[in-house]
């Protein structure tokens, strides 16, 4: 019981960490391997701002989000848009190349050592009956819910969200109602990067991080989106929770070392056995053929 609870809380943190990827990969269908590096960049930015000014890490989110928004904008404009001419493979490889460059830059600025952002509240825990709720994970999960709810609202209740979904589903149809598809895609990608940065700020509080922590997060993020089914925010949340529980149970009843293998095992098995994910539905053929 405690293990499942832990798993759900860990899953909540995973949902938080992968929210940006849910937008960029899940909705826009761009396999963005810079995700891990962007996340860690967000964490380091928070570290620096907190160290310099002493503000609460949560207060850095607007700044970090804005910086990452700009970075995402540049990445899409300068790299993704050009790489798209070469096809899916070129896009993935170029985001991988960017991830390497970004990780290198992070090491140059902050070094190899693990960093963490200390807060008074992150190390405490709540108790309800026999169950222990570590505060850090509870806060992380709460943030995840807020962010995903915000993303859900954004996609379903705002014009930007509608335009993003329309431009992804049917670019030509989108042009016919006046949506400038390229601009919308840049904006959505940048927004995904900003979300990732914000998640990085929160992760900085939850656990120590190093420049190469990004690798672990990119695997997790891909596993969550693949498992949850493309384009489904609810699916991504359930995927994240499921992964958290799988990992925690593996760590509790197997060994912690094997828990790290789970995201990758999930990706391999899902793609082999059910490529549309658990909640994904195969897209229906939707054409009028002459």
């Amino acid at each position: 019981m405690q293990a499942v609870l832990f798993g759900l809380l860990v899953g909540g943190v995973y949902a938080l960490a992968s929210s940006g990827l849910t937008l960029i990969f899940g909705v826009m269908r761009i396999v963005n391997l810079t995700h891990g590096a962007l996340l860690i960049a967000g964490a380091f930015l928070t570290y620096t701002i907190c160290a310099a000014t002493g503000v609460d890490p949560f207060a850095t989110i607007p700044v970090v989000g804005a910086v990452l928004f700009g970075l995402g904008w540049l990445i899409h404009r300068l790299v993704v848009q050009r790489a798209e001419h070469g096809g899916e493979g070129t896009v993935i490889l170029s985001t991988l190349a960017l991830a390497m460059i970004l990780e290198g830059v992070i090491i140059l600025i902050w070094g190899h050592e693990p960093h963490s952002v200390a807060t008074s509240y992150a190390r405490s825990s709540f108790r309800i009956g026999d169950l222990v709720f570590p505060a850090a994970q509870v806060y992380g999960s709460a943030c995840a819910l807020v962010l995903l709810a915000a993303l859900h609202t954004l996609l379903n209740r705002t014009w930007l969200g509608r335009a993003v979904r329309a431009a992804t589903a049917n670019p030509q149809g989108a042009e016919l109602v006046g949506i400038r598809v390229e601009r919308i895609n840049v904006a959505a990608f940048a927004l995904g990067a900003a979300l990732t940065g914000a998640a990085g700020s929160i992760l900085a509080v939850l656990s120590p991080f190093t420049p190469d922590s990004g690798d672990q997060w990119i695997g997790l993020g891909l596993a969550i989106v693949v498992l949850g089914g493309m384009g489904s925010l609810g699916g991504a949340l359930v995927g994240a929770l499921a992964l958290g529980v799988i990992e925690t149970l593996t760590a509790t009843y197997g060994s912690p070392a094997w828990a790290t293998a789970m995201p990758f095992a999930v990706i391999v098995l899902t793609l082999l056995l059910r490529p549309q994910g658990i909640f994904g539905v195969r897209v229906r053929e939707d054409v009028v053929s002459a």
Binding site: G87, G104, V105, H112, F264, V268, D286
Partner: protein, 575 residues
């Protein structure tokens, strides 16, 4: 000339340790050979077939661990155990390759990427077998220290030569031609008889085995296996980089890439020292990868070739003068096609609504009807691009609606597309012979096939374009190439989707003459066409579709004077 250069290169490399035994350079060459083996193997899947793997270094680790474990268990030399490493790597590739049956592009990249990390973690944690974090120590060298590097040097050089021979054999075989066809247009490849699933699986296995063997040798060379180094994404990136740099899809590109990249890598090792060295290497190699992807996407060898070809004058086509149809095209009797009560819906739209029609053997049958009446959909159901919701389709009395595309194509069914689909980067001749029969091991173009291809090119007056990439031909010429591409299969029933669409009146006339001539030798034709004078002048029988049903059939005269038909045309699909 070319053979001499290659021979001289091999001789220099073979004599290297004897004449100039400097350990620094021998070590560097060993690493170059290793990278060249891996990049050349990757190229079979990534270059020829167009499926990019980001986890190819996993096979290196699998080979190394298998070899180390086997050598330890049976107390044999790791050199003897290395082939086993290749086998295990191949078996793993066969399982992972199953993903290519269901998805392409992103899914393949992700599954190889995930596999690499997964196996790395397995190697780290399966302590009882791999010794986990402590790593595995391989047996001490049993030969003189003076020649310590020689067995590794020659072993990997030999393996590189074998890998290149395999790569060349594949590239020049029917199997390899099938792979490039898959890369250019997978569905079309299946449509002209390439067994795509089996070919992809075989390609992935072929691209893993040499790396597995190399892993065994490399592990012994290192003397110590560390799971993090053996299953490293960095190695995979180097593999992709080497192949991209030299030129994917070429025989020598990956080798050239390895010979440039490995020394460059050593150079950066010396250039960058201290704590920030790793960071700078990440930036440099990430930057290099990005630069190649965006600014040199074809790689060095194809880039140079293209630059050289620019000066060459383009071929000039002859006027199409219809020569006699080659006798081998005579099929005796054409096939009979029957569709019974075929239904197909897309979402809320019924496109075929209980359609039934017969195409008599040896006939030229026309299929006309307003836009949206279901003509192209019927073609897609006949050739297997789509499956009907219900109903049966029979070819010579046998049901084909359940068989896969390449089976239908092999049983005598050929089809052209409304928007012509060729393999744009392959030469015209390769396009023409791509679908013809032959075992995988047969040469890509046998003498007989080349001769037949040449005859067909003569037939349509395009012999001078033989070696040009098909994508450079005009639209009308591409239409003719797509038609003769199908004729190579000696089909007994040919489906033509708007053969006269988008080509000029002279070409239309010639297309008609060609069809008539081919029909005289037995081939059955079913033609969808909007050009009424063309179709009514050509066909024996015409079926008219409207609203997903057959509303009339008969001779062109009958159909033309049928008030129902005129009505259907003037009122569109809605009867």
């Amino acid at each position: 000339m070319r053979i001499m250069v290659i021979g001289a290169g091999c001789a220099v490399l073979a004599l290297m340790p004897v004449l100039w035994g400097d350990a620094y350079y021998l070590n560097m060459l060993i690493l170059i050979f290793l990278l060249a083996i891996m990049a050349s193997s990757w190229n079979i899947m990534g270059g020829y077939t167009g499926y990019i793997s980001l986890g190819q270094s996993a096979f290196l680790g699998v080979g190394a661990y298998t070899t180390a474990i086997a050598a330890d268990a049976w107390s044999i030399s790791p050199f003897l155990a290395a082939p086993l490493g290749g086998l295990v790597a191949g078996a793993l590739a066969a399982v992972l390759g199953l993903v290519t049956f269901r998805a392409r592009g992103n899914a393949f990249i992700m599954i190889t990427f995930a596999m690499l990390y997964l196996l790395g973690i397995v190697a780290l944690n399966w302590t009882s077998v791999t010794n986990g974090n402590d790593g595995m120590v391989l047996p001490a060298l049993t030969w003189s220290r003076d020649y310590a590097l020689w067995p590794f040097y020659y072993g990997l050089l030999g393996l590189l030569i074998l890998t290149l021979l395999m790569s060349r054999a594949i590239a020049s075989s029917r199997f390899g031609l099938g792979l490039t066809a898959i890369r250019e247009d997978e569905e079309k490849a299946a449509g002209i008889g390439v067994h795509t699933s089996a070919a992809k699986l075989a390609a992935f296995v072929a691209s893993s085995v040499p790396i597995g063997v190399a892993g065994g040798v490399y592990g012994y060379y290192l003397g110590f296996l560390d799971s993090r180094a053996m299953f490293s994404i960095v190695t995979s990136i180097m593999i992709v980089l080497a192949a991209l740099l030299g030129g994917t899809g070429t025989l020598w590109g990956p080798v050239l890439g390895a010979f440039l990249l490995e020394p460059f890598s050593q150079l950066t090792n010396q250039l960058f020292t201290g704590p920030a060295a790793g960071a700078w290497r990440l930036i440099v190699f990430g930057g290099l990868l990005l630069a190649i992807l965006l600014f040199l996407p074809k790689g060095i060898i194809p880039g140079v070739r293209q630059a050289l070809a620019r000066g060459r004058p383009a071929a000039v086509g002859k006027r199409l003068t219809l020569t006699a149809v080659p006798s081998w095209l005579a099929v005796g009797d054409g096939a009979r096609l029957e569709a019974r009560d075929v239904r197909k819906r897309f979402g809320g739209l019924t496109v075929l609504d209980g359609l039934g029609l017969t195409v008599e053997p040896g006939s030229i049958t026309g299929l006309i009807g307003p836009n949206g009446s279901g003509k192209t959909t019927l073609f897609n159901l006949i050739d297997g691009a789509m499956k009907p919701d219900s109903g049966t389709i029979l070819l010579d009395g046998r049901r084909i609606d359940g068989s896969s595309r390449w089976v239908r194509s092999r049983s005598g069914l050929g089809r052209t597309h409304q928007i012509t689909r060729l393999f744009p980067k392959l030469s015209v001749l390769r396009n023409v012979v791509a679908g013809s029969n032959g075992s995988w091991a047969a040469p890509a173009i046998t003498g007989a096939q080349a001769a037949r291809g040449a005859e067909l090119l003569d037939l349509v007056g395009l012999a001078d374009y033989r070696d040009l990439p098909a994508g450079e031909l005009s639209y009308g010429q591409q239409k003719l190439i797509e038609l003769i591409q199908i004729l190579m299969l000696q089909p007994r029933l040919v489906l033509l989707d708007e053969p006269a669409g988008g080509i000029n009146p002279t070409q239309i006339e010639q297309m008609g003459a060609l069809i008539r001539e081919l029909n005289r030798t037995g081939t059955t034709f079913l033609i969808v066409e909007h050009n009424m004078p063309f179709v009514l002048g050509l066909c024996d029988t015409v079926h008219v579709l409207a609203g997903g049903r057959r509303i009339a059939s008969g001779t062109p005269q009958e159909v033309r004077s049928d008030p129902l038909v005129l009505d259907a045309y003037l009122t569109g699909a809605s009867q």
